[in-house]
């Protein structure tokens, strides 16, 4: 059994149970007991616990699950309360509790980043709406159900939901997350926070924010907007109702249902991964009502034109691509390069990461269950320089990649595998991961139900059809 990292317990009033973190020289067992209420969601107690080598991951797991379940129940109750008033209640409630509930009880990792300075890896969970932190060297032992995070940011105050993108500031340790599709906010959390805490900054974003890249040199952050096929740039420290400083949007940009974004600081360009579907927008047409809209654009400048400005019937569903733009590009600027074509192997390209030293671009290739690596200057129908792919890799619907240059490691978030997997930066082919952090037993099915907006019943096959 691999030796787990050292731990100690943080007890958090808001989640009403113990979460587990690391400290000290050896493994420790966590116990949940007397709580001290801070009343404001802050950590209220830190409690070292008895040594218990060999079972610490398992022993603390149940407590973490209970803590997170309690936090989530509180958030559900708050959300129910807000919505209750909007629909009348009339006749008897029938049906009682559900006869069956299809639900993945485990974290589904969507985005990942490493805080090298603090030796932490931080990942978003789009299934249970959490941000989970682990020791960077964590590895889930065989036989253990899952690794226990050192801390978990979750709950009503966090205002996170479907957090598809993450950036961890290497200096301050602040954690930036983009909420996709349901909450039009970017949330920034202070370094080291735990539990149901409010973000230190909460920024309005257009609807459908997905990826984030931060440019330290120019103190900017760039965010992709799926629904508007756009990229918006903000001040790095932007907050509240602040407007973007520029927007990239238009048919000539090549941006089409964009996902991940990565920065090449030397050449001052950004790479943008696209699924390929988009439509034209125009401010010269009559603004439509009744189409889905974020509704938070009032008074904003440099805001992309939303679907209320969509040109009817202008849509196209094209091949996936990676477009390369000048960082400071705006308006309907064309890309400087485009990677697109059958040789690229792109198949729902989602997360991107750039290795500035080796001049290589990493692509989390969701539907291909692979990681593709391209030269920084690749263009056209270019084949990847190498790919990590195959049954030994542990890759399963990867949606995020992170290059840890300091430790020469590549991190992958496997949305379809309940796992974060780690490889040497030069890994290629059907290679096993150097380490794996699991959020569920290896045999646990990964449901990948995300924002299920509808359902249909296939009476011929007796199946439930759920779009995501």
């Amino acid at each position: 059994m691999t030796k787990p990292p050292p731990r100690r317990a943080f007890i958090h009033a808001a989640v009403a149970a113990a979460l587990v973190v690391a400290a000290g020289d050896g493994p420790r067992r966590v116990s949940a007991h007397r709580l001290t209420s801070g009343g404001d969601g802050r950590l209220v107690r830190v409690e070292p616990i008895d040594d218990d080598p060999g079972i610490c991951v398992t022993a603390s797991d149940g407590q973490l699950q209970r803590a997170l379940a309690a936090s989530r129940a509180a958030e559900a109750s708050a959300q129910q309360g807000r919505r209750r008033a909007s629909m009348p209640v009339g006749g008897d409630r029938v049906g009682g509790d559900p006869l069956r509930t299809i639900r993945d009880p485990n974290a589904a990792f969507a985005a990942v980043a490493v805080d090298v300075k603090r030796n932490e890896v931080i990942a978003t969970d789009e299934n249970l709406f959490q941000i989970l932190a682990y020791s960077r060297t964590e590895h889930t032992p065989d036989g253990a159900p899952r690794s226990t995070p050192t801390r978990a940011i979750a709950g009503e105050r966090t205002q996170i939901e479907f957090q598809s993108g993450i950036f961890v500031d290497p200096e301050s340790g602040e954690v930036f997350v983009t909420n996709n599709d349901t909450r039009n906010k970017l949330a920034v959390f202070a370094q080291g926070v735990n539990g149901d805490v409010a973000p230190v900054r909460l920024l309005d974003t257009p609807h459908g924010a997905f990826g984030i890249a931060v440019d330290a040199a120019h103190q900017e952050m760039l965010i992709t907007i799926q629904h508007d096929s756009a990229v918006v740039a903000y001040r790095k420290m932007a907050d509240g109702h602040e407007s973007p400083i520029r927007v990239l949007q238009g048919r000539h940009t090549g941006v089409a249902d964009p996902h991940g974004i990565a920065l090449d600081p030397r050449d001052d360009v950004v790479f943008i991964a696209n699924y390929g579907s988009t439509h034209d927008v125009s401010s010269s047409i009559e603004k439509r009502t009744g189409v889905p809209s974020a509704g938070n654009d009032a008074g904003k400048t440099n805001w992309p034109l939303g679907r209320e400005w969509a040109v009817p019937g202008s849509g196209t569903i094209s091949a996936p691509s990676i477009v390369v733009h000048r960082r400071a590009a705006s308006g309907d600027a064309p890309p400087v390069r485009v990677i697109q074509g059958p040789a690229t192997g792109l198949d729902w390209p989602t997360g991107l990461a750039f290795d500035a030293a080796k001049r290589e671009l990493y692509v989390a290739n969701d539907a291909g269950s692979s990681v593709l690596v391209f030269d920084a200057l690749a263009k056209g129908n270019a084949a990847p320089k190498r790919a990590i792919k195959g049954g030994r890799t542990g890759l399963a619907n990867p949606t995020s990649v992170f290059v840890d240059a300091a430790n020469q490691e590549l991190w992958v978030a496997n949305f379809g595998g309940h796992s974060l997997t780690v490889y040497p930066l030069d890994a290629a082919g059907d290679v096993g991961p150097r380490r794996t952090i699991r959020s569920a037993p290896p045999e646990a099915p990964s449901l990948m139900i995300g924002n299920p907006g509808a359902i249909a019943f296939d009476s011929k096959r007796d199946e439930l059809l759920v779009p995501n």
Binding site: P88, V89, G95, P105, P312, N451
Partner: protein, 262 residues
């Protein structure tokens, strides 16, 4: 796709996914046609309607795609199939567009329901009752801007309505709704709302409270979105986007009789 009796952390039986499918990961609706064994999914970013074989799995191309300037599609988030009369209905803002079920490519809608008499400000969802020849539309009504109580109504039209048609009747004051479903044989409408599913009769008119509620209030549902019916087992099945879950409710009383007056 999950087995009808799936429960808990059940494994998917199949999935349609990948670039070949022309889908993305942000699909908000699905409809199944049991007569022709087809699945329809709206591609909201690409302004298209994708039709798959009912048994499709993996990285398969759709068998038909409705897409192009003639379609008038804008930001389609929901749709419904009428397998009897061979039509596809798409709510699009102030309009409901109707396409031939077998349409492919750049085709114009055969009918467009739109205009001040329709009462529709923002159509959210549609359902078809082929037994009584009704088209049921969940929509924000004209003049409801900023009025949360009037944010949704259920307008019931003749199925063949076109142009600036008046609804036959309107169930009003139902607050915010998401998807709807109808069960013509039982004569009821299901509307997904705030933490529960409301049940109305198809002949309800005016400000009528739901006859029944399912899943809440004060139940397990938090933010329900989708709803469908398995009439054979007398189940109502609901998706919840907060829970990322599919919940099945046994409601035999719904299929036996509904209160007729309140």
């Amino acid at each position: 796709m999950f087995a009808g009796l799936a429960d808990g952390n059940a494994r998917r039986v199949r999935a349609i996914e990948g670039q070949q499918t022309m889908l993305g990961r942000t699909m908000h609706a699905i409809a199944y046609d049991p007569i022709h064994d087809e699945i329809a999914v709206p591609q909201q970013f690409g302004q298209g309607i994708l039709i798959f074989d009912g048994g499709a799995a993996g990285a398969v191309r759709p068998k038909r795609v409705i897409e192009g300037p003639r379609t008038q599609l804008i930001a389609l988030d929901r749709l419904a199939i009428d397998p009897i009369n061979d039509e596809i209905y798409v709510p699009e803002g102030r309009k409901v567009l109707v396409f031939p079920r077998e349409a492919s490519g750049n085709v114009a809608p055969t009918r467009v329901i739109a205009g001040p008499d329709t009462t529709i400000l923002a159509a959210r969802a549609v359902a078809v009752d082929t037994r009584h020849n009704l088209l049921v539309i969940s929509a924000s009504p004209l003049g409801s801007e900023g009025d949360s109580e009037r944010s949704s109504e259920i307008a019931i039209f003749d199925r063949t309505a076109a142009g600036n048609a008046k609804p036959l009747r309107v169930i009003s004051g139902i607050g915010g709704t998401q998807n709807i479903a109808v069960y013509p044989e039982g004569g009821f409408i299901l509307a997904v709302g705030a933490s529960y599913v409301g049940v109305w009769r198809l002949e309800d008119n005016g400000k009528v409270l739901p006859r029944y509620t399912i899943g809440g209030p004060n139940g397990k549902l938090v933010d329900p979105r989708g709803v469908t019916i398995d009439a054979k087992t007398k189940h109502v099945i609901v998706t919840d986007k907060f829970l990322n879950a599919v919940l099945t409710y046994a409601v035999p009383q719904l299929f036996e009789s509904l209160p007729t007056a309140r």
